[in-house]
């Protein structure tokens, strides 16, 4: 860890400051390098989609941003502030628990396997964070949760436990639960991968609605290429822990420049 920390700014300021910035971020497990010197910016309000073969490190990007994984090198910034580090005597040092907790409030995440709390109803799942973390009163948390469940069309099932909900329903509740924390950045980690084909539209529909009506910064890892093309402002193709190619969806899907991108896209097309 003999990294020169002075190369990293203490804050990102100015009008063009990105909402999320990965700066020279590397991650490895022992010998295996998952991410190699990643540099990536996401602008405020942007919908950025990551695609790529499995093992390319795309999910790791989201998990690092949610602080579920630590990084070995580099710095991640969110909303102008360093996420993985904090300032101490004018230099960046690894973040402590307090800092992580403060920064995590800016980020929400939805998981492939939903990870709803099985001992709580849909409504309680959405109220848990607002009451316990944000310190909202039960009434206002309930009101917020009900509005969000309404938005994801789950109002009628709000008193059901997750075990009585279908996969698509559970994922919609999980989206409401994440939104209830009022994050600035939303992360969607293969949210449709564990779903039966006929319910995928329930979930993608909700995400479409979010893109249309809210000014949220969103990052999504998905295998639904059609959906990614429709909805994204920008698509990144990951390969071997690096960004192989990125661009507007029409360009990347329509006329990919790199050989590996072409191979991946045609392989995916054949599978469908």
């Amino acid at each position: 860890m003999s990294e020169d920390m002075t190369q990293f700014p203490l804050r990102l300021e100015g009008e063009n400051a990105p909402m999320v910035r990965f700066m020279n971020v590397s991650k490895s497990y022992g010998e295996l390098t998952v991410l190699d010197q990643l540099n990536l910016d996401v602008a405020p309000g942007e919908m950025m989609t990551i695609i790529g073969p499995s093992g390319s490190g795309k999910t790791t990007v989201l998990r690092m941003l949610m602080t579920l994984e630590t990084i070995n090198k580099g710095v991640i910034y969110v909303d102008g502030e360093p996420l993985t580090h904090m300032e101490k005597n004018g230099v960046l040092v690894p973040a402590n628990k307090m800092h992580l907790r403060r920064m995590r409030a800016k980020i929400g995440m939805c998981f492939q396997h939903f990870n709803l709390f099985p001992h709580m109803t849909a409504l309680q799942n959405c109220m848990e964070g607002p009451v316990q973390v944000l310190g909202l009163t039960k009434e206002s948390a309930r009101q917020r949760a009900e509005e969000l469940l309404e938005m994801v069309a789950m109002s009628d099932k709000r008193d059901h436990h997750p075990s009585r909900l279908s996969g698509g329903q559970q994922q919609r509740v999980a989206i409401a639960r994440a939104l209830a924390m009022r994050p600035k950045v939303m992360l969607f980690d293969e949210v449709t991968s564990a779903l039966d084909p006929e319910v995928i539209n329930e979930v993608t529909g909700v995400i479409r609605k979010l893109v249309g009506e809210h000014h949220l910064t969103m990052m999504m890892v998905t295998h639904q290429m059609g959906f990614a093309r429709d909805i994204s402002d920008r698509v990144c193709f990951f390969y071997g822990g690096k960004i192989e190619e990125q661009g507007a969806p029409a360009d990347l899907f329509g006329s990919p420049k790199k050989q590996r991108t072409k191979q991946f896209l045609s392989a995916v097309k054949e599978a469908v």
């Binding site: 949610m66 602080t67 579920l68 907790r101 995590r104 409030a105 980020i107 929400g108 995440m109 998981f111 396997h113 990870n115 709803l116 709390f117 099985p118 001992h119 109803t121 848990e128 964070g129 316990q132 973390v133 436990h161 997750p162 075990s163 009585r164 999980a174 639960r177 994440a178 924390m181």
Partner: protein
Amino acid sequence: MTNWRWDFVWEILPRLIWATGNTLLAAGGGYAIALVLGLALAVAQRSRHKLSKNILRELVEFIRSTPLVLQIFFIFYVGPQFGVWLSPWTAGMVAIGLHYAAYLSEVYRGGIDSVPKGQWEAATAINLTTTQTYWRIILPQALPPSLAGMGNYLVGIFKDTPMLSVIGVGELMHTANAIGSESYRFLEPYTLVGVIFLAISLPTAALVRLLEASVRRTLGMS
């Protein structure tokens, strides 16, 4: 039958029933200590600190693989050697509590390990503190799979209370011994103690099974 005397049974029954109260009290007290201490041991063993984790593991193994009756002696007699006098009741409940805390910590650990990793991650994603994550997310889910083990050890602790008679706690066994040495009759007191144990432990075991099923239902996990 070898001159079983019903009149003697009626004579000693009140004393034995009184002593049953003490037995239940000792079991309850010991169990309360074990429930709390066991949880602390289980959670502490999940700490990231390698050395303290290994020391705790070995301590749990030590407690589990040595006889309770010897631990009772140890706690009761070692205190006075260093100027701390514990009453038989206190020493006995501490010993039983500590012994079963080691067992319960294993039960809790199994329960906690059975909660999927995604639950911890979801708790992090909504920014709960570690304490909140334990109390509100992990432990409620770790409880149902732990209940069977917790119930078995409740019955186990109850059946181990006769060992407290060795340091003079006035529970059932101690009372039966006293009756035996006063009257030179052992048949009735020892047999009655056995019957009382059966009468309590068999229904309790059945009750524990019922409770387990109903907790699973109320938490919506079946």
